[in-house]
């Protein structure tokens, strides 16, 4: 049998997706279903004086219209929607119910709900609901929030929600800056991003009146977390709730939440005894689904005369939006540990203030805090290189942890222990692939010739925190849950293998990868492995998929469950072969007796024997059904080097990405095909932040670009093919040596692209440009620089 692990195996998920057979939430029908239509506030901040639902109630197909106050009176909720990450004991957390009653705090907040027979009728009736608002002053940006001129919640005296600090060595930081030969300060805006998974979120809750239970299909990354949270906030028994994430069309963090619509569908279906459903429209998603990023960053770097880092100091003003959702306040903290990047930084300090605004809440979006951190330190390193007068690669080399050599279990200034790293060769490989010398020569040629299209080479060497997370580390951060993952491997009587995972894939190909892990371990055909997931009745134990955790925690749990399967099977085989268990060798799916090549049993034969239970060791339970819950001892820290080659047209300001080189290291790989896909997609999402995307708001908190007409998700036209390669530095955090790769591309790419643009424009004296670097913004920056020069 050829090696399974590390081979580019085609995905078993694909045929059903390619033929349209798969069912997303909106594809599922339920007899007697009612469509929810949401009446949403057009104002960012307003008093709700009254609602007249009568005109809507008489519309065709309308079953009921409930105002926020009526819904509250129905007693649907035991508690507000949850925030699982109260980052400080005194964090301000205004109650966030699925509907507003007296006051709305962002555009799109729900004030009333229509239930109708069809989606069209629900939409029509929403139009007829009359709401009397009295507009209040809105906080339309984090800058406005800082002034407290208006407060996002009228009963708050300040917009500040919390101050969180990570200052392990404040004296050291002060000394570093006092003794520095060079300091640089970068102030960056991480603009708000609309996650825009291609499948809009949707939900369908189906009560079973006779069983007293309720099933909710929802487009989520986190059915398990949702089940606990729904029980806790609705008062419906956890044991009565079944959550199913059917085919899910991408998530990127946007489907890692507990949303008003989900709570409404569940509680209304439960109350009315009718299936209740809703699917967001794309434009609605700018208000009904949380957004990403939304931070003002200030990073200060102190270095000696050679550019060797002495200290890094960071302050963030983070835009929470109107409410704390599931992990809203925790997102900047996830980044806090990465502001020292891949560098040996003697002293580090980080503070973050969280601020309420009257905007859609922020929360996790691909990378969640870590792309922001990587961006800040990698931009600052380029600024430092310029100041010291050395190349970007040289400033990095001088500062790599471990001197760029291989290391394991290394304590870093941000208080974490990096599992493993080997940065030097990774950088070399990327520079070679990019043909850096040729690029620089071409850049010089264009500059000398005074060409209008300037070349820029942008470098980023990133590290990320994956494999969320050791439960005790989460406790230290005041996170309200653990970070383990569960996996079950059961041998079926016919020799097939059934795997149950607590991970919840939505494009990552876990069915394929988990099959490969099992096939490799048990010596069976990957096609004989069936992976069950994403349904709390089938997979009762799990903590789902986010934070590049699935392989490094969930996949490892599967691998370790396989070890338990082998252990039990070995005892059965030994018993049946009348051999000592220690005298059995397990290879390619067969237990053979050492020294007697003919004597042996296939694992499938053992499985059948375990099922019949005719001849088991005394006291052994029949069947082979092994569960492992893996709580990782440490995070995993993948890293990599990205090079963006950009062409900037100084006449139009347009940036073209000519080439993109990515050398990533995610430790050992299970399926390189899937790794590569994750890298590609991640890179384009980061490139999109650098060049195209950003949710724009006016000062009244109105989103100016909620639809795909104005919010520029890049198409195939805007991005190039990507050159990828890998180094392989196994993690010490798990027995498989794997790290995680879902967010890596995004974490490396925004900084690489902007570094490239700044490199292209350096002859004009440009040292920074805000994201997204639209043609207009680039052109204006060039003009301003020319005028200033």
């Amino acid at each position: 049998m050829t090696a399974v692990m590390g081979s580019p195996r085609l995905r078993k998920e694909d045929p059903a997706l390619l033929t349209g057979e798969n069912k997303f939430v909106d594809d599922i029908q339920a007899v007697g279903q009612l469509w929810m239509g949401m009446v949403r506030s057009p104002f960012a901040h307003a008093k709700v004086n009254g609602i007249n639902a009568e005109p809507a109630k008489s519309m065709p197909g309308v079953y009921a219209v409930y105002t926020g106050a009526e819904l509250m009176d129905m007693g649907l909720w035991a508690a507000p929607l949850p925030c699982a990450w109260p980052v400080t004991p005194d964090m301000v957390n205004p109650p966030h119910y699925p509907v507003a009653t007296d006051e709305v705090h962002h555009v799109g907040e729900i004030v009333a709900v229509v239930l109708a027979d069809s989606r069209y009728e629900a939409a029509d009736a929403v139009e007829k609901v009359e709401v009397d608002y009295a507009e209040l002053p809105a906080v339309g940006s984090v800058e406005a929030a800082l002034t407290d001129a208006a407060t996002a919640h009228s009963d708050h005296a300040t917009n500040k929600a919390f101050t969180w600090a990570l200052e392990p060595n404040p004296d050291g930081v002060n000394d570093a800056f006092a003794n520095a030969a060079h300091t640089v300060t970068g102030e960056f805006l991480q603009q708000r991003l609309i996650p825009a998974a291609m499948e809009p979120r949707g939900v369908l809750a189906i009560p079973s009146p006779h069983g007293g239970d309720i099933t909710m299909y929802t487009s989520t990354q986190v059915p398990h977390i949702l089940k606990v949270m729904m029980a806790a906030t609705t008062g419906i028994s956890e044991a009565k709730i079944r959550i199913i994430a059917p085919a899910v069309g991408g998530g990127f963090g946007a489907k890692l939440n507990v949303n008003p619509d989900e709570s409404l569908a569940l509680t209304l279906a439960n109350k009315l005894g009718r299936p209740v459903r809703w699917t967001e429209t794309r434009t609605e998603a700018a208000f009904s689904t949380h957004q990403g990023r939304g931070q003002r960053q200030k990073i200060e770097v102190a270095a000696d005369a050679d550019g060797k880092l002495l200290g890094v100091r960071v302050h963030l003003d983070a835009d929470m939006g109107a409410y704390m959702m599931l992990i809203t306040p925790g997102v900047p903290l996830l980044g806090s540990f990465l502001y020292t990047g891949v560098y040996d930084v003697p002293a580090f300090g980080f503070t973050c203030d969280g601020w309420f605004t009257n905007l859609t809440p922020t929360d996790a979006y691909r990378g969640a805090g870590r792309p922001e951190a990587s961006y800040a330190i990698e931009r600052a390193m380029d600024m430092l290189a310029q100041k010291v007068g050395i190349t970007p690669e040289e400033v990095r080399r001088r500062n790599y942890l471990g001197g760029g050599d291989a290391f394991e279990n290394l304590d870093v200034a941000s208080t974490l222990t990096f599992d493993s790293g080997h940065y030097g060769p990774n950088l070399d490989m990327a520079l070679n692939m990019a043909k850096i010398a040729d690029l620089r020569a071409e850049q010089q040629r264009r500059r000398d010739a005074g060409e209008s299209k300037q070349l820029g080479i942008g470098l980023c060497t990133y590290v990320e925190i994956c494999g969320l997370a050791p439960s005790r580390a989460l406790a230290g951060l005041a996170y309200g849950a653990g970070g383990w993952e569960a996996g079950t491997v059961r041998m079926l009587p016919t020799g097939k293998v059934e795997v149950v995972t607590g991970s919840t894939p939505h494009g990552q190909g876990h069915e394929t990868s988990w099959s490969m892990i099992v096939a490799d371990k048990l010596g069976v055909d990957p096609d004989d492995v069936e992976v069950l997931h994403s349904d709390t009745a089938i997979s009762p134990l799990g903590l789902d998929t986010y934070g590049s955790r699935s392989l490094a925690v969930g996949g490892v749990a599967i691998s370790m469950a396989c070890d338990k399967v082998i252990d039990k099977a070995r005892l059965i085989a030994a018993h049946q072969l009348e051999a000592n268990p220690d005298d059995l060798e397990f290879e390619s799916g067969r237990f053979g007796v050492k020294g007697s090549p003919d004597k042996g049993l296939l694992i499938q034969e053992v499985a059948y024997g375990a099922f019949t239970a005719h001849n088991l060791p005394d006291g052994m339970e029949p069947n082979i059904n092994e569960q492992m819950v893996f709580d990782p001892p440490n995070f995993a820290f993948p890293f990599g080097t990205h090079v963006a080659v950009v062409e900037v047209d100084e006449n139009t300001g347009e940036t073209t990405l000519l080439d993109y080189i990515a050398v990533d290291d995610c430790g050992n790989q299970v399926n390189p095909l899937i790794v590569e896909g994750q890298v590609h997609g991640g890179i384009v999402q980061g490139v999109a932040q650098a060049l195209f995307e950003g949710a724009e708001y006016d000062e009244d908190g109105q989103c100016k670009n909620p639809s795909f007409l104005d919010y520029l998700v890049p198409s195939a036209m805007e991005v190039p093919s990507i050159k990828t390669d890998y180094t392989y530095t196994p993690s010490t955090s798990n027995p498989m040596g794997v790290k995680g790769v879902g967010e890596a591309g995004t974490i490396g790419s925004a900084a690489a692209v902007i570094n490239g643009i700044c490199d292209a424009l350096s002859p004009y004296g440009v040292s920074d440009i805000e994201m997204p670097a639209s043609p207009m913004r680039v052109w204006k920056t060039i003009q301003d620089a020319k005028a200033g020069a």
Partner: protein, 150 residues
């Protein structure tokens, strides 16, 4: 109102509201849920089907406008249990992850090659401009289309 059309080789008729979009007719009246909806501004192409062999965004067309026409959806692309070469090429080149954009992307790619059997990489990228994918970064989609072109 009453409409009839040939969908994936079968004559289908139904009584629908005049404002029903083709995509909703296909999905909700005929149960052909392979065609997806990704936006409300004709921007994403998730809903791409073929009407009389031409690629059409079925969210931009009323079902009544397709009255009497021949429609092919993703469910009609495979034949005799065999996937269409474009579907196979997407699989072989890992041109899909979550699969939500995929039916539209495959339908658009099939008609792209019909119009231009030997496209360059740039022509593929341009030809798929109306179809958004959030997962793949397009690299492997472009590779799949080029491979299918042979």
């Amino acid at each position: 109102m009453q409409i009839q059309m040939n969908v994936n080789g079968a004559d289908r008729s139904a009584d629908i509201e005049a404002r029903t979009l083709l995509v909703h007719f296909l999905r909700e009246d005929l149960g052909l849920t392979g065609t997806n909806v990704g936006c409300d501004t004709s921007s994403c192409g998730a809903c791409t089907v073929h009407v009389n062999g031409e690629s059409v965004k079925s969210c931009t067309m009323l079902a009544v406008s397709a009255n009497g026409e021949t429609v092919t959806t993703i469910e009609g692309l495979a034949s005799g249990g065999e996937m269409h070469p474009m579907q196979t090429s997407f699989m072989e080149n890992h041109g899909l992850q979550c699969g939500y954009c995929t039916p539209g992307m495959v339908m658009a790619s099939v008609s792209l090659l019909k119009e231009n059997p030997n496209p360059s990489e740039a022509e593929v990228r341009e030809g798929l401009e109306g179809n958004l994918c959030r997962c793949t970064g397009y690299h492997n989609i472009v590779k799949a289309v080029l491979a299918a072109a042979g």
